[in-house]
Amino acid sequence: MIKLHIRFILNLFICVLLLASCRQKESAVSSKPEEKSFPVGYATGFSVHRAAGYMVVEVRDPWDTTKMLQRYVLVPAEKELPSELPQGVLVRTPLKRVVAATSVHCGWLDMLGVREELVGVCESRYIDVPFVKQGLEVGQMIDIGEAAAPDVERLIELAPDGMITSPLSNAPYGRVEKTGIPQVKCVDYMEPTPLGRAEWIRFLALFFDREALADSLFAETVKAYEEVKALVREVKECPTVVMEMKYGGMWYVSGGQSYMGCLLRDAGAAYCWADDAHAGSFPLSFEAVFEKGGEADFWLIKYNRAEELGYDGLRKEYAPYANFEAWKKRHIFTCNTGVVSYYEEVPIRPDYLLKDFVKIFHPHLLPDYRLRYYRKMKEE
């Protein structure tokens, strides 16, 4: 028991040390002496200030980092409303009835043990989380339509006290905003680092009074991640990697400072675009990708199709693919996201994906590990 505590504190300490060397610290301390700080180690998209009787959570606008996307003022339901509250969306915690717009967040709710509170979801056909499937079957939760355009009437009928959304830059949830239902805007997908994204579970937990649980889950994640990362520290040879495929005339390539770029670096790979400055992905022509990545040691492809993709199929799709070294040497690994729970698990457990990568690039470091998402591409 105590050991756990010590470990926990130790890990927090490591976090604090690490963040001093790589990421900007985002824990603002207010002038009031009673406030406790809430250190947010990895995520750059949200910050938390505690005050007497309430908590202020600010979500930064990831598309214009000088602006704020939303400020939430969280007041526990059983306490009285303090007389002076800062401006922001008032939320009485914990939320009792929520609607989740994406399957990723359904997964997080599951981890936080927030199950009965979920009364509605969007696009239920894409959600694979068991308790959601069950809930839909028994009618405990309903599908309110497309995430981009939910059925507002049904939403109002449900009378939730919060909706968890993933807003896109130029598609404000206009109609939903007008209903007055507080939107918990999770822009976790805009985080450029894996641990940063995973930390958003702590953000979500604040709304359900599950801070402690989230903190410990996150700490576990951080620990696991760092452990795997530590394995590759001694590695001398970093194999080169190229990712994904072209669609139409464009091949979307993740930038060097993007989520994927960071993950690959942590996995001990030399991503072909490691020195690129983009924090997201950008389109290139086949030629440009071939020039830089044609000789890469490994090629990782994610796709979502009914049939599995094989070497032959890849060549038939576009003959020049067969000229990649990785194709010729049979070093391609694929992940069919329709079959494995990639998008449900990876945001919250980037260490799983990191392990897969390390296993692929440096198999001797994880001899007993079996690949979870990727597998060797089959012949045809």
């Binding site: 894409y126 072209k246 669609y247 139409g248 005339g249 464009m250 950008f282 389109p283 290139l284 022509s285 086949f286 030629e287 440009a288 071939f290 020039e291 044609g294 000789e295 796709y303 979502n304 199709r305 009914a306 049939e307 199929g313 038939k316 799709e317 576009y318 003959a319 020049p320 000229n323 329709g338």
Partner: protein, 342 residues
Amino acid sequence: MKYRIWGGIVLLLVLLFAANLFLGSARIPFRAVLGILVGEEGEKTAWTYIVWQTRFPQAVTALFSGASLAVAGLMLQTVFANPLAGPSILGIDSGASLGVALVMLLCGGTVGAVTVGLTFSGYVAVVVGAFAGAALILGLIIFFSTLIRSNVMLLIIGMMMGYIASSAISLLNFFATAEGVFSYTMWGMGDFSGVSAGQLPFFCGILSVGLLLALLLMKPLNALLLGERYAGNLGINVRRVRVVLLISTGLLTAVTTAFCGPIAFIGLAVPHIARLLLGTSNHNFLLPVTMLCGAVIALLCNLISVLPGSAGVIPLNAITPVLGAPVIIYVIVNQRKIQYFH
């Protein structure tokens, strides 16, 4: 005078074709490309591969696609006596897209990856599907043209049919996965890189058939400038000409759309460019020049799309309207002064 124009266009064509081989997203030195073209082994095998396996097929695709779409547009404009007719406006390429989408759905796979798991007979299936879709819409347009006198109304009907075809495709996409939708969206942006070196003979072969049919129609098209009654009086079997035209236009539009996605504006604007350049509506000159101009414009657009180099790629359908729309606007505004409008 006319021969100077010919010479100029052919020269431009050769230059742009060469430019498409020498310039691209990857920076390959001029000397290296030259060496690769004459058969030397390049410094990097990647370069040899890029020049012969991606740039060359892309340039040839652009050349043939541009010529085909331009000629299809010219024929439609003459037959419907409508200077604003074109394969995209009349909804013909939407019909072709629908044909492709249906074939892809039936054969499994996603729309947009034309050759997913396809053998030679697979390509043929896709092209047949595209042709059927294009011919269907074209046939409907011809049918409506017998009922409706007004040119503008016919254009609007064409647009309506294009919308119907597009909505049918959207419905099909509804059943597709997110990736399928994404794939289709990307395909809709148009690109000339979809034809690999191995598919090139098939692609160029079929388009050549369509282009040849068009050349055979030069004389009837000239007669049709006078209207159907005069044309009939001059000995043209208007019905037969219509059928040949349907086959030719359908083929040209269907194959380019199936392999390159729907490309807007080339069919609409290039015939006008050719007419303004030549100063005549005489198809004996106009048709070949339209072909060449179409090829030139397509090669130019292809070049522009790779201009950003390692920073990215501009989708084709973002470039063609920028070149094509001003031409159309110019023609409409200067209607009075332009001879062939009367």
